[in-house]
């Protein structure tokens, strides 16, 4: 059989990444290339002086080991960007342009929508020149690119949904434009991959896509770059790691911290990450008078993330709406037991974790306190969790994707219609 070739569109990829999407794309791509699939990964890539905050080292040199080609499209788009944030970036860009030279051409779109459109046109150009069998794109910013690539080449399109607009906004003030793009992508696609049944349900419910067309492929965790740190400590540490934004529920983490500290002051809470809620959270911590017990560590990635895990006695993922959630798997990989919200995809597959409703702050505090104080519980959760997490290999989701590629290619070759 001929080697499968996949053209992938994403928003982020190591080393240029800020969140779980990049980790997932990286893991999946590695799994695919392990299985002898060729992947060309296309990502937007900003001008040097703008991307500094995103540049984190994540074994870029390792990438050359794989049959993986990374293509960058010059763009101001970044993952998890909102309309306003894009506009701010755009204005900054225009400013920097002015300082450079009088004649610089304005390269990027005036607003986020123009830019997404521009990106899709660039994608079309790449699609015309690259050799591939299947198009696979990740989340809404990449969907127009995928649609254009399909139009230009007639190759089958797979869209993978890591998060919907309903997750990002918690269902409040859903951006109609983003929603339309998401829905268009799902309609135009030959198959839709959802990262959990939780997400599949949302796609069916909010986007009216037939369940037959949606395949669930759960994420996994990478074990090849297993870290090895030893950090000393004397206080019990509870870790939050994720963007500080509504979807991730950091505010529930803070409220639970207060309840825990009222009961047992010998606990430290570390908040790793940044985001639009940061100021509000810092303010709330001060208001609750637990400033010395709740530490904001800012954004971390790569080895710093692992160092954070090593520090922790317990990892908490209180997400309000988490399509999958890879961090609990990373925590277990680093031998940290986890409490996760029931409103997450990962809770469908991870058995050896404590699970709470994100809004149930009392129960979250109860579970934090018991894990920190009952050694038998900590030990068993970790023991079984660490064994279980080793069954989550990226080869599994990679194989599921390959099966989907083959399925759509077969349908395509025989003129069968996708469901």
């Amino acid at each position: 059989m001929n080697k499968l070739k996949v053209l992938m569109f994403g928003w982020e990829f190591p080393p240029f990444m800020s969140g779980g999407l990049g980790t997932a794309c990286y893991g999946l791509t590695k799994g695919l290339t392990n299985k002898n699939v060729d992947v060309t990964f296309v990502i937007p890539h900003g001008p040097e002086d703008m991307k500094a905050e995103f540049v984190k080292l994540l074994i870029a040199s390792n990438l050359s080991r794989y049959n993986l080609k990374i293509k960058r499209i010059d763009s101001l788009l970044k993952p998890y960007l909102t309309e306003t944030q894009y506009s701010t970036n755009y204005e900054q860009y225009i400013e920097t342009l002015k300082t450079k030279s009088e004649n610089s051409k304005v390269l990027y779109g005036r607003n986020i929508y123009d830019e997404v459109y521009r990106l899709s046109m660039a994608a079309k150009a790449i699609a015309m020149t690259e050799e591939f069998d299947v198009i696979h794109c990740h989340d809404w910013m990449a969907f127009p690119a995928g649609i254009e690539a399909k139009k230009a080449t007639g190759k089958p399109l797979i869209v993978q949904v890591h998060a919907t607009e309903f997750d990002r906004t918690g269902g409040n003030s859903v951006n109609q434009y983003v929603y339309d793009i998401e829905r268009q992508g799902m309609l135009q696609a030959d198959r839709v991959i959802a990262v959990s049944y939780f997400t599949k349900q949302k796609i069916m419910q909010h986007y009216g896509i037939s369940g037959d067309k949606i395949v669930v492929v759960h994420n996994a965790v990478d074990f090849t770059d297993e870290p090895n740190f030893n950090v000393k400590k004397n206080e019990k540490v509870v870790l939050y790691l994720g963007r500080l934004t509504l979807q991730k529920g950091p505010d529930y983490f803070i409220e639970a911290a207060k309840k825990v500290l009222d009961y047992d002051p010998e606990v430290k809470f570390i908040v790793v990450g940044n985001g639009d809620m940061e100021a509000r959270l810092v303010d709330r911590v001060a208001q609750l008078g637990i400033g010395s017990k709740v530490l904001f560590a800012g954004w971390a990635s790569g080895p710093d993330v692992d160092r954070m895990y090593k520090l922790a006695d317990l990892y908490v993922m209180p997400s309000v709406s988490e399509p999958f959630g890879i961090t609990p798997l990373e925590a277990l990989r680093n031998n940290v037991p986890v409490i996760i919200s029931k409103q997450s995809g990962v809770s469908e597959v991870l058995k050896n974790a404590l699970k709470v409703d994100f809004w149930d702050v009392d129960e979250l505090a109860n579970k934090i306190l018991t894990v920190l104080n009952y050694r038998g519980l900590h030990h068993e959760l970790l023991h079984h969790g660490a064994i279980e997490v080793r069954t989550f290999s990226w080869n599994v989701p990679a194989q599921k994707c390959i099966d989907i590629y083959n399925l759509v290619l077969h349908e395509h070759a025989h003129g069968e219609k996708a469901p």
Binding site: Y263, L354, T370, Y374, G376, L381
Partner: protein, 427 residues
Amino acid sequence: MPNVCFYFQVHQPYRMKRYSVFNIGNTSDYFDEHKNKEVMQKVAKKCYLPTNKAILDLIHTYKKSGRQFKVSYSITGVALEQFEKYAPEVLESFKKLADTGCVEFLSETYYHSLSYLYSKEEFKAQIELHRKKIKELFGQEPVVFRNTELIFNNELAHFVESLGFKAVLAEGADHILDWRSPNYVYKAKTTKNLKLLLKNYKLSDDIAFRFGQKSWKEYPLTAEKYATWLNQHAEHSVNLFMDYETFGEHQWEDTGIFNFLRHLPHELFKNPHTHFVWPSELALNEPVAELDIHNFVSWADIERDLSAWIGNNMQNSALTELYALEKMVKELNNKVLLEDWRKLTTSDHFYYMCTKYFNDGDVHKYFNPYDTPYESYINFMNILNDLILRMKKHIQEKSIVIELKDKYHVQHRITDRPAKMLNEVIR
């Protein structure tokens, strides 16, 4: 002379409420009345009432014919209490069965506990409580003992003999029987006269587990077919030991389990030599051999050992801490505290903490009110922490050690070593 010995275990635990760290010190209401009532009434309707009626009918039918249909039961004290509270009609129907003179009641620990493994004194006390209860309700003095989940070894046999019992039940596990048949009466190496009655697990499990399984090659199991299997045996007796909830609860009515039960004696009596016997009657036989059973056997899981209740860190910690409180809780001489402590000794609480099959999505799940073993341990330990707090308050009120007063004002924090903490305070 094929004899058949039916023994049914009747048990319902007191299931706990969800009990958080923040409930400690605020409520000592540990048990989920609503849930326990609901379960009891459901099982009464599906199992206890219809099965008791079927058995009563059988007893009456065959009494007239001159041959007796006999069965034996052990009913835990906690099940009896819950009958009294939530389903008195079930208790009445058991009393009616007792009145026929065709039913034998066996002894066991009142709280269906693992006390033998942790405290002989408590073990004895719970057997005595159970004896009184059976006497009071059914007017019988049990002479045959069955330990919780048929947990058994040489030493237990020895101890039980010293309490005056004539026989004890155990699992007829392959690893203790080897080539021998479970259908004879044995004795344990450590005893003088105590008889050992072994469960024929193959024929018992044909009813208890396989009866409704469509994939089983013997499905559907008719009374006629099963009777021919039993009637082949010419040893002391075929011992059919099982949970009473097999009828109507584990095997639903639509599997035909009740029809099977109603027709079985008729089919068995086609052999003029077949009789039903009680465990106490079997105890009159001379044992055919001595068995040497050092390691504990039980009737649970495929391992048939203690690993369903003891083994992981959560189970070990919960059990050790619970029994570490025994001496203190008894010295306090407070009925309510002692009863709450005893309700925590019920083996089901530790079964819920089992991680053995959790990862395969297992049998334990069916009986488990918790989503994970972790939640059950959290609940148990939180409750144990509250019990300690109440014990401390009680000590203070009774001014057993007056100079300790100040220490009680130290804020209580949860601990997985509550007994140690209590001892420190008292010292």
